[in-house]
């Protein structure tokens, strides 16, 4: 039973990690129907920014909680700027182009950003400081569930709830939904569609940055390539849950995390990805739009 619980918690952490990145994917897709492949790179840039800021602040001798907050804030601001710029440079000019064009543009952006960080920073793995303190009340269970893992899980849940509320009840959230439904109509009733899309990218990138900091803190190392691998898994999670749906992204990510964890624990880690993707295929056969996705009716 202990073993089951450990695997369950491991899967929960892993799923929450995927979810933090998947939320950004799914949000952007929901609004502009674009799979933003550069999202993983924004996440990676967030982690790098946090590392740089944290290293500088450590020299000044701040305590780790203050460093964590400031580094995260810096990462969010910096990543948002990147997300905003990427949208303006790579996606906006292609908004009326066939859907394949922005997709290719996104892949290009992803490769560009990876290599940019490789050249501007380093190809080496860098140690990421453990910024999240070990909470005293977690001590008895820290060998099965650490404080960093708790922070990741809680953050993911809070972010999911906030995001849902934001989209349901705020003005800009309503504008987002309107834009998602019909861009032209939204424009006609006076919604600044460009602004809505920019805000979407900024929020998506902020989430990626937040994920970058928390996950890098959990893994303890970063390099320019982390965004790609995490991005692929998060994308899978978003599709599994129904791309475009916010609770769907979290649900999909958690299911993916548990599947991988239990597959490793009870079968073999050799088949971890086999189980994960077999599950994806199965779900897509029976629910083509994903678990919580709405199937689109094609206008002919």
């Amino acid at each position: 039973m202990d073993y089951f619980l450990e695997l369950f918690l491991g899967g929960l952490t892993r799923g929450s990690i995927y979810a933090l990145i998947a939320l950004g994917y799914t949000m952007v897709y929901g609004i502009v129907q674009l799979i933003n492949f550069a999202h993983g790179e924004i996440y990676m840039i967030g982690a790098f920014t946090a590392l740089i800021v944290a290293s500088v602040l450590t020299i000044f001798g701040l305590n780790s909680a203050a460093i964590l907050v400031i580094a995260t804030a810096a990462a969010i601001v910096y990543s948002s700027a990147y997300g905003y710029t990427v949208e303006k440079i790579a996606y906006k000019p292609l908004r009326n182009a066939p859907r394949l064009s922005p997709l290719i543009s996104a892949i290009g952006m992803s490769i560009f950003l990876q290599n940019y960080v490789l050249l501007a920073q380093t190809s080496d793995f860098l140690p990421f400081p453990r910024l999240i303190p070990e909470f005293a009340f977690m001590e008895p269970v820290s060998h099965i569930f650490s404080s960093a893992e708790l922070v990741i899980v809680v953050t993911t849940m809070v972010v999911m709830v906030l995001l849902t509320v934001f989209i349901k009840f705020t003005n800009i959230g309503k504008a987002m939904r309107a834009t998602a439904q019909d861009k032209t109509m939204a424009l006609l009733i006076g919604i600044d569609v460009d602004r809505v899309i920019s805000v979407t990218f900024i929020i998506g990138s902020s989430l990626a940055a937040l994920g970058g900091v928390l996950i890098a803190n959990h893994i303890g190392q970063i390099n320019f390539y982390i965004g790609f691998i995490a991005g692929i898994k998060a994308f899978t999670a978003a599709v599994l849950g129904g791309i475009g749906s916010i609770p769907g992204a979290v649900l999909g990510a958690l299911i993916l995390g548990w599947t991988e964890s239990f597959a490793t624990g009870y079968v073999s880690s050799d088949y971890e990805d086999v189980f994960a993707f077999a599950l994806l295929v199965l779900i897509l056969i029976f629910r083509p739009a994903g678990l919580l996705g709405k199937s689109e009716t094609k206008k002919v």
């Binding site: 952490t13 190809s123 140690p127 996950i215 190392q221 390539y225 990805d273």
Partner: protein
């Protein structure tokens, strides 16, 4: 940008070749087919040596040091007047350690008429590229590809290496666990890659043959995953006393960290993919006590000291992985060209097999299969933030 630069360079050589043609005295030994007219530089006043490996991508830290090593050796040779009266020139190609890219890198080197290749870095990429080199009769010397098949299968007669093959590491690791650590229950984990899985399979084979160790877990993990807690729980569940890991340092650092966090008291033994200072830097104090096999300590070798000093003077830091092996390979290649008095394939490979050469890893030559005689492994342990040789 890179393409443009290469093109400009190629154009320069064409011009250089043309203007110097009348002065050309010695006819090159190899036949010059019509195609060569397009690249007269190949038969002109330079000897081209290819350098192939991962120079970008996540394994770039394994490949870039060999480029630097090759540059230093070539600079020395050119400063002393070159090789066989010709200047030596490097043709550097990046294979990102991917087999599919390695083949096109190899084709590029062949079309550039290199006489020998230093590379590739990863075993998988090397295997993929070997066919191309064999067809073009180009000897290849890797500073780091340790897959035993490369030499033992006999399929790659033009392959040489300045590092001991994987099965020698696995042998050493199993012996060390049995005889020195005196442990019994072993979990063998690998990263499913050519290198890591290969090593794990040898270790498993040796452990089963010896009948002294009890393999409680044998599994592959997915490299680059965000979390390895499930496999760590499984190691815990299996009751292993020692983990033998076949793979590279990024995953090893994650696993070692998790093992410590989950309060598991197990020894961690790994390979020279982990015997990298980046591992210690990334895993921090969790790295303490980790064992890794790696090439024997050469810090007393004068050539090694000189080679390291050159790197420090030029770049202000210690050289990276496989730097000395690459330095050795470059010395061995150029020495063989010198001794053979030609860049002809048969003479060159013969010289590699018969002529001893003083290198940073000691005096070596190559056996029939291409393994270096005189390059061995030792066991290292992380002690106070550095790898220390243990015996």
């Amino acid at each position: 940008m890179k393409k443009l630069l290469l093109f400009a360079l190629a154009a320069m050589f064409v011009f250089a070749g043309c203007s110097q043609k009348p002065k050309e005295e010695a006819k090159p030994a190899e036949q010059a087919p019509a195609a060569e007219a397009a690249a007269p530089a190949a038969t002109g006043d330079v000897i081209k040596i290819g350098v192939a490996g991962a120079h970008s991508g996540d394994l770039a830290s394994y490949g870039l040091p060999s480029v630097k090593a090759a540059e230093f050796v070539v600079k020395d040779i050119n400063d002393k007047g070159g090789l066989l009266g010709k200047k030596v020139e490097l043709v550097v190609v990046d294979d990102v350690c991917k087999p599919e890219v390695a083949v096109s890198s190899a084709n590029k080197l062949v079309s550039e008429h290199v006489v020998a290749v230093l590379g590739h870095i990863c075993s998988g990429a090397t295997k993929a590229a070997m066919g191309t080199y064999l067809a073009a009769k180009i000897p290849v010397m890797s500073p780091s590809a340790t897959s035993p098949e490369l030499t033992k299968s006999g399929e790659y007669p033009n392959f040489f290496r300045t590092i001991a093959p994987d099965d020698s590491q696995a042998r050493l690791e199993i012996d060390y666990i049995t005889n020195v650590l005196k442990l019994k229950k072993i979990a063998i984990i690998h990263d499913k890659g050519d290198y890591g899985k290969g090593l794990a399979e040898f270790a498993k084979g040796f452990a089963e043959a010896d009948k002294k160790l009890d393999i409680v877990l044998y599994e592959g993990i997915t490299p680059g995953a965000v979390d390895y807690s499930a496999i760590v729980q499984k190691i815990k569940q299996s009751g292993a006393e020692v983990v033998l890991y076949g793979g590279y340092h990024p995953e090893a650092a994650k696993i070692v960290t998790l093992l410590a966090k989950k309060k598991l008291n197990v020894k961690f033994v790994s390979d020279d993919g982990v015997k990298d200072d980046t591992f210690i830097k990334v895993a921090g104090h969790y790295a303490e006590g980790v064992y890794a096999t790696g090439p024997k300590d050469v810090s007393k070798n004068p050539l090694a000291i000189e080679a390291t000093k050159k790197h420090k003077d030029a770049y202000g830091e210690d050289p990276g992985a496989f730097y000395l092996n690459a330095y050795t390979a470059m010395l061995a290649i150029t020495n063989a060209i010198e001794k053979a008095g030609s860049t002809d394939y048969d003479k060159l490979t013969n010289a590699l097999r018969t002529e001893d050469v003083e290198t940073p890893i000691g005096k070596i030559k190559f056996d029939e299969k291409g393994d270096a005689i005189g390059a061995e492994f030792s066991v290292y342990q992380v002690q106070n933030g550095a790898y220390v040789e243990v015996k």
